[in-house]
Symmetry: C2
Subunit: 274 residues, 2 copies
């Protein structure tokens, strides 16, 4: 609750964040509120961020092309651009609730805006997020543990290596949702229809095969309780590029803080395949 | 028939090109045969090529990301790499039947290999091709005019502009297949299941809206006869990056010659979504 307490000192939480338009939500975050975005602007796609200097941009884009499940690119703001069609009228430097700043692969700051870090050679990659298919899962009768338990989704570094690209290499990061055994098939089927936002699960059932020793200790986000008869199901996660940045150690890189996403003007349904 | 005559002087056409494995087909082209690849290595995906210097590679990859229907990237060989998983044991400099070499946006050569043009800073983009869904259309009972008529698919520059990316900008290029009116819906449905190889049509029925004045005069490939009651249906085409190269005028760029594709080790069915 630390982030929330700090933020609500200056900007108050809207009564119904889910009813805000994406532009309204971004304006709230621009004013300094720093809370996780789950449930905000219902029906609109939320996204991960990775921002790097132009000299690293080809490697990042190629890394994404070679690892489309964890790194589905929804949009790119070219060097120095601070807005674009996914955030009409917005500003990528201020409109995400909280950022993570890396220098030489080390996290050095978690600011609520990145004005002081901005440079005209920074390229912004907007990466799909599995929050997009969560409403489809719920409409399909599948409850989402981390939403029901009021916490951030648990995310894990795995022992699976991504395909490297130039200077970029790193582990696959996954998000986990426990699913009742009788609904695993439905969860695969529903999420496979969203290939642009991680799509079908990468693994079902055995965390040890992914090199995850303890589900109760996620590397990002919060642990969730796994009910009797539920199977842990793993989806590729958009934090993967940040894990690669931490390994590749560029002089500067900026991401969102996990769970604190960019709320885009794209609708969840835009990413549904027929 | 000029290419074919020139080539068969040195390498003879296999008896059943459709039965060759992709590696066998690439070996034949490596030996110098220069014929269109329609019908070769049945069941395996054929691909467009665009090869540019490293300094232009981010712009090309971003152009592809912003224009995924005409430019679906299947694979990238990083600077200086001449082989990769899509052409195991192959060599991108020799394994395509015929290439097109551009200097400052002008076509200067159409060689059967690019050994003399190769440089260690060249990056190769392997781009999806609509040939991949033609067998699915035929299995769906839809005949393909250019196959039945034994010619190359007709392709047209349109008045539709692609989303630019850095130095890369240009028109959307489309391929056209005339489809019986009663089967247009089936053709849309079937090809929409192949989003990685151009997917659903971009336009149905009115060439003038695309700025195409005369269907009998394609900009690339051959004209086809359009039977009574058939509707011209247009799909985004992987020649689009070459059209952008011609506008953007980099010092050097290399593509395949239209219809003379790279035969990859990927199966057509690899690009079918569920």
């Amino acid at each position: 609750m630390t982030n929330q307490q700090e933020a609500t000192a200056t900007v108050s939480l809207p009564a119904d964040p889910g009813a805000l338009s994406p532009a309204e939500a971004r304006a709230v975050f621009r004013s300094g509120l720093a809370v996780p975005t789950a449930g905000w602007s219902r029906g609109f796609a939320q996204a991960n961020l990775i921002i790097v200097p132009r000299e690293l941009a080809f490697d990042v884009l190629l890394f994404a092309q070679r690892n489309p499940k964890p790194c589905p690119i929804l949009g790119v703001l070219d060097a120095g651009e601070t807005t674009g069609p996914l955030l009409a009228g917005g500003d990528i430097r201020t409109d995400v609730p909280r950022y993570t700043v890396y220098r030489d692969g080390q996290k050095v700051d978690e600011p609520t805006d990145i004005n002081e870090y901005w440079r005209d050679d920074l390229v912004t990659f907007i990466v799909g997020c599995s929050f997009t298919f969560e409403s489809a899962l719920r409409e399909g009768g599948i409850s989402i543990a981390h939403i029901d338990q009021g916490v951030n989704v648990p995310m894990y570094r795995t022992s699976v290596r991504c395909e490297p690209a130039g200077s970029m290499s790193g582990p696959l990061v996954v998000s986990m949702r426990p699913i009742p055994a009788s609904q695993v098939s439905d969860a695969v089927r529903i999420t496979s229809r969203y290939p642009a936002v991680h799509g079908a699960p990468v693994h079902v059932g055995n965390p040890h095969e992914l090199g995850i020793a303890d589900l109760s200790r996620p590397d990002f986000g919060d642990p969730v309780q796994i009910a009797e008869g539920h199977i842990p199901v793993f989806w590729a996660c958009g934090v993967t590029p940040q894990a690669a940045v931490m390994e590749s150690r560029p002089a500067l890189a900026i991401g969102h803080a996990p769970g604190h996403m960019l709320i885009t003007d794209a609708r969840d349904s835009d990413y549904l395949v027929p």
